[in-house]
Symmetry: C2
Subunit: 122 residues, 2 copies
Protein backbone atom coordinates (compact mmCIF):
# COMPACT_ATOMS: atom_id res chain seq x y z
CA UNK A 1 0.00 0.00 0.00
CA UNK A 2 2.59 2.52 -1.14
CA UNK A 3 1.24 5.72 -2.72
CA UNK A 4 2.52 6.70 -6.16
CA UNK A 5 3.54 10.32 -6.61
CA UNK A 6 2.80 11.72 -10.03
CA UNK A 7 5.66 14.20 -10.08
CA UNK A 8 8.05 11.33 -9.38
CA UNK A 9 6.38 9.33 -12.13
CA UNK A 10 6.96 12.19 -14.59
CA UNK A 11 10.56 12.36 -13.38
CA UNK A 12 11.07 8.80 -14.64
CA UNK A 13 10.66 9.59 -18.35
CA UNK A 14 11.05 12.35 -20.92
CA UNK A 15 9.41 10.88 -24.03
CA UNK A 16 6.26 12.50 -25.36
CA UNK A 17 3.22 10.50 -26.57
CA UNK A 18 4.43 7.49 -24.59
CA UNK A 19 2.09 6.90 -21.64
CA UNK A 20 3.28 5.21 -18.45
CA UNK A 21 0.93 3.14 -16.28
CA UNK A 22 0.75 4.42 -12.70
CA UNK A 23 -2.20 2.38 -11.41
CA UNK A 24 -4.52 -0.45 -12.41
CA UNK A 25 -7.98 -1.05 -10.96
CA UNK A 26 -11.20 -2.74 -12.03
CA UNK A 27 -9.75 -3.59 -15.43
CA UNK A 28 -8.89 0.07 -16.04
CA UNK A 29 -5.55 1.81 -16.06
CA UNK A 30 -4.42 5.22 -14.91
CA UNK A 31 -1.60 6.52 -17.07
CA UNK A 32 0.51 9.65 -17.17
CA UNK A 33 1.80 11.11 -20.41
CA UNK A 34 3.76 14.04 -21.77
CA UNK A 35 2.04 15.49 -24.84
CA UNK A 36 3.70 17.93 -27.22
CA UNK A 37 2.97 18.68 -30.86
CA UNK A 38 0.22 17.06 -32.92
CA UNK A 39 -0.80 13.46 -32.38
CA UNK A 40 -2.55 11.33 -35.02
CA UNK A 41 -6.28 11.23 -35.63
CA UNK A 42 -7.62 8.06 -34.03
CA UNK A 43 -10.48 6.54 -32.10
CA UNK A 44 -10.91 3.69 -29.63
CA UNK A 45 -13.80 1.49 -30.74
CA UNK A 46 -14.62 0.09 -27.31
CA UNK A 47 -13.00 2.48 -24.87
CA UNK A 48 -14.08 5.79 -23.43
CA UNK A 49 -10.94 7.78 -22.63
CA UNK A 50 -10.53 10.43 -19.97
CA UNK A 51 -7.98 13.22 -20.28
CA UNK A 52 -7.13 15.17 -17.12
CA UNK A 53 -4.64 17.98 -17.58
CA UNK A 54 -2.11 18.44 -14.78
CA UNK A 55 0.02 21.11 -16.45
CA UNK A 56 -0.14 23.04 -19.71
CA UNK A 57 -2.82 23.65 -22.33
CA UNK A 58 -4.23 20.83 -24.42
CA UNK A 59 -6.50 21.04 -27.43
CA UNK A 60 -8.48 17.99 -28.48
CA UNK A 61 -9.73 18.28 -32.03
CA UNK A 62 -12.84 16.48 -33.28
CA UNK A 63 -14.06 15.86 -36.81
CA UNK A 64 -17.60 17.11 -36.41
CA UNK A 65 -17.65 19.51 -33.54
CA UNK A 66 -15.74 22.30 -31.89
CA UNK A 67 -12.31 21.64 -30.47
CA UNK A 68 -12.07 21.18 -26.71
CA UNK A 69 -9.54 23.32 -24.84
CA UNK A 70 -8.25 21.96 -21.54
CA UNK A 71 -6.00 23.70 -19.04
CA UNK A 72 -4.66 22.46 -15.70
CA UNK A 73 -7.51 21.09 -13.62
CA UNK A 74 -9.76 20.35 -16.61
CA UNK A 75 -10.93 16.88 -17.56
CA UNK A 76 -12.81 15.56 -20.58
CA UNK A 77 -14.13 12.15 -21.57
CA UNK A 78 -13.81 11.25 -25.25
CA UNK A 79 -16.50 8.61 -25.84
CA UNK A 80 -15.69 5.30 -27.52
CA UNK A 81 -15.66 5.52 -31.28
CA UNK A 82 -15.22 9.30 -31.45
CA UNK A 83 -12.28 10.28 -33.62
CA UNK A 84 -10.01 12.81 -31.96
CA UNK A 85 -6.58 14.38 -32.24
CA UNK A 86 -4.74 15.79 -29.21
CA UNK A 87 -2.60 18.85 -29.94
CA UNK A 88 -0.29 20.68 -27.55
CA UNK A 89 1.75 23.70 -28.63
CA UNK A 90 3.93 23.35 -25.55
CA UNK A 91 4.41 20.28 -23.39
CA UNK A 92 1.38 19.13 -21.45
CA UNK A 93 1.42 16.74 -18.50
CA UNK A 94 -1.77 14.69 -18.51
CA UNK A 95 -3.36 11.85 -16.64
CA UNK A 96 -5.39 9.32 -18.64
CA UNK A 97 -8.06 6.87 -17.43
CA UNK A 98 -9.06 4.11 -19.81
CA UNK A 99 -9.51 0.34 -19.98
CA UNK A 100 -6.33 -1.70 -19.63
CA UNK A 101 -4.96 -2.69 -23.04
CA UNK A 102 -6.18 0.50 -24.71
CA UNK A 103 -3.64 1.45 -27.38
CA UNK A 104 -2.51 5.08 -27.42
CA UNK A 105 -3.09 5.27 -31.18
CA UNK A 106 -6.42 3.38 -31.18
CA UNK A 107 -7.36 2.43 -34.73
CA UNK A 108 -4.66 4.56 -36.37
CA UNK A 109 -2.12 2.56 -38.31
CA UNK A 110 1.03 4.29 -37.12
CA UNK A 111 3.71 1.90 -35.96
CA UNK A 112 6.08 4.71 -35.00
CA UNK A 113 3.70 6.19 -32.46
CA UNK A 114 2.02 3.04 -31.15
CA UNK A 115 3.16 1.91 -27.69
CA UNK A 116 2.16 -1.74 -27.45
CA UNK A 117 3.16 -2.28 -23.83
CA UNK A 118 3.46 0.89 -21.81
CA UNK A 119 6.06 0.86 -19.05
CA UNK A 120 4.61 0.48 -15.56
CA UNK A 121 5.57 2.89 -12.79
CA UNK A 122 3.16 1.59 -10.16
Amino acid sequence: MEPTNLEEAFGAFEETWSPRVVAELNGQEVKVARLEGEFVWHSHAEADELFYVLDGDLTIEFRDEADAHLSAGDLLVVPAGVEHKPVAEEEVKAMLFEPAETLNTGDADDADLTVEEPERLD
Copy 2:
Protein backbone atom coordinates in the same frame (compact mmCIF):
# COMPACT_ATOMS: atom_id res chain seq x y z
CA MET B 1 -17.54 17.95 -25.46
CA GLU B 2 -17.27 20.52 -22.70
CA PRO B 3 -14.38 20.05 -20.24
CA THR B 4 -15.17 19.94 -16.53
CA ASN B 5 -12.95 22.04 -14.27
CA LEU B 6 -12.28 20.48 -10.89
CA GLU B 7 -11.91 23.78 -9.02
CA GLU B 8 -15.33 24.80 -10.31
CA ALA B 9 -16.69 21.43 -9.26
CA PHE B 10 -15.36 21.97 -5.73
CA GLY B 11 -16.90 25.44 -5.79
CA ALA B 12 -20.33 23.83 -6.15
CA PHE B 13 -20.40 22.17 -2.72
CA GLU B 14 -19.05 22.45 0.81
CA GLU B 15 -20.10 19.18 2.43
CA THR B 16 -17.42 16.74 3.50
CA TRP B 17 -17.63 12.97 2.88
CA SER B 18 -20.18 13.60 0.14
CA PRO B 19 -18.64 12.80 -3.26
CA ARG B 20 -19.85 14.46 -6.45
CA VAL B 21 -19.65 12.71 -9.82
CA VAL B 22 -17.64 14.69 -12.38
CA ALA B 23 -17.31 12.07 -15.14
CA GLU B 24 -18.53 8.62 -16.11
CA LEU B 25 -16.73 6.26 -18.48
CA ASN B 26 -16.56 2.54 -19.13
CA GLY B 27 -18.90 1.82 -16.23
CA GLN B 28 -16.63 3.73 -13.86
CA GLU B 29 -17.08 7.11 -12.24
CA VAL B 30 -14.71 9.91 -11.42
CA LYS B 31 -15.77 11.74 -8.28
CA VAL B 32 -14.46 14.65 -6.27
CA ALA B 33 -14.82 14.83 -2.51
CA ARG B 34 -13.91 16.99 0.46
CA LEU B 35 -12.58 14.85 3.32
CA GLU B 36 -12.14 16.12 6.87
CA GLY B 37 -12.07 14.24 10.15
CA GLU B 38 -12.37 10.47 10.53
CA PHE B 39 -14.53 8.41 8.20
CA VAL B 40 -15.93 4.98 9.07
CA TRP B 41 -14.11 1.70 8.63
CA HIS B 42 -15.49 0.04 5.50
CA SER B 43 -14.63 -2.00 2.44
CA HIS B 44 -16.04 -2.44 -1.06
CA ALA B 45 -16.48 -6.13 -1.79
CA GLU B 46 -16.28 -5.83 -5.57
CA ALA B 47 -14.67 -2.47 -6.22
CA ASP B 48 -11.06 -1.34 -6.26
CA GLU B 49 -11.02 2.34 -5.28
CA LEU B 50 -8.48 4.94 -6.30
CA PHE B 51 -7.73 7.98 -4.15
CA TYR B 52 -5.84 10.85 -5.77
CA VAL B 53 -5.10 13.80 -3.49
CA LEU B 54 -5.43 17.24 -5.06
CA ASP B 55 -4.90 19.29 -1.91
CA GLY B 56 -4.08 18.50 1.72
CA ASP B 57 -2.77 15.47 3.58
CA LEU B 58 -4.77 12.25 3.75
CA THR B 59 -4.11 9.19 5.87
CA ILE B 60 -5.72 5.89 4.92
CA GLU B 61 -5.68 3.43 7.79
CA PHE B 62 -5.72 -0.34 7.29
CA ARG B 63 -6.43 -3.14 9.75
CA ASP B 64 -3.38 -5.25 9.10
CA GLU B 65 -0.72 -3.03 7.67
CA ALA B 66 0.88 0.38 7.95
CA ASP B 67 -1.21 3.48 7.30
CA ALA B 68 -0.76 5.13 3.92
CA HIS B 69 0.02 8.86 3.90
CA LEU B 70 -0.95 10.79 0.78
CA SER B 71 -0.17 14.41 -0.03
CA ALA B 72 -1.06 16.46 -3.11
CA GLY B 73 -0.05 14.55 -6.23
CA ASP B 74 -0.15 11.13 -4.56
CA LEU B 75 -2.50 8.34 -5.58
CA LEU B 76 -3.28 4.97 -4.05
CA VAL B 77 -5.50 2.07 -5.04
CA VAL B 78 -7.33 0.31 -2.20
CA PRO B 79 -8.09 -3.17 -3.54
CA ALA B 80 -11.60 -4.62 -3.37
CA GLY B 81 -12.38 -6.19 -0.02
CA VAL B 82 -9.67 -4.36 1.92
CA GLU B 83 -11.06 -2.59 4.96
CA HIS B 84 -9.88 1.01 5.24
CA LYS B 85 -10.59 4.26 7.04
CA PRO B 86 -9.72 7.63 5.51
CA VAL B 87 -8.64 10.27 8.04
CA ALA B 88 -7.85 13.94 7.37
CA GLU B 89 -6.84 16.32 10.16
CA GLU B 90 -7.54 19.27 7.90
CA GLU B 91 -9.70 19.36 4.80
CA VAL B 92 -8.47 17.34 1.84
CA LYS B 93 -9.66 17.69 -1.73
CA ALA B 94 -9.53 14.32 -3.43
CA MET B 95 -10.44 12.70 -6.73
CA LEU B 96 -11.87 9.18 -6.60
CA PHE B 97 -12.04 6.65 -9.40
CA GLU B 98 -14.22 3.59 -8.90
CA PRO B 99 -17.04 1.60 -10.51
CA ALA B 100 -20.32 3.45 -10.93
CA GLU B 101 -22.74 2.63 -8.09
CA THR B 102 -19.94 2.23 -5.55
CA LEU B 103 -21.26 3.44 -2.18
CA ASN B 104 -19.01 5.80 -0.23
CA THR B 105 -19.50 3.75 2.93
CA GLY B 106 -19.17 0.34 1.25
CA ASP B 107 -20.29 -2.39 3.65
CA ALA B 108 -20.50 -0.08 6.68
CA ASP B 109 -23.99 0.27 8.10
CA ASP B 110 -24.03 4.01 8.64
CA ALA B 111 -27.12 5.68 7.26
CA ASP B 112 -25.94 9.15 8.27
CA LEU B 113 -22.83 8.98 6.14
CA THR B 114 -24.06 6.93 3.19
CA VAL B 115 -24.72 8.91 0.01
CA GLU B 116 -27.02 6.73 -2.07
CA GLU B 117 -27.10 8.91 -5.17
CA PRO B 118 -24.21 11.35 -5.42
CA GLU B 119 -24.99 14.63 -7.15
CA ARG B 120 -23.62 14.88 -10.67
CA LEU B 121 -21.53 17.86 -11.74
CA ASP B 122 -20.59 16.57 -15.20
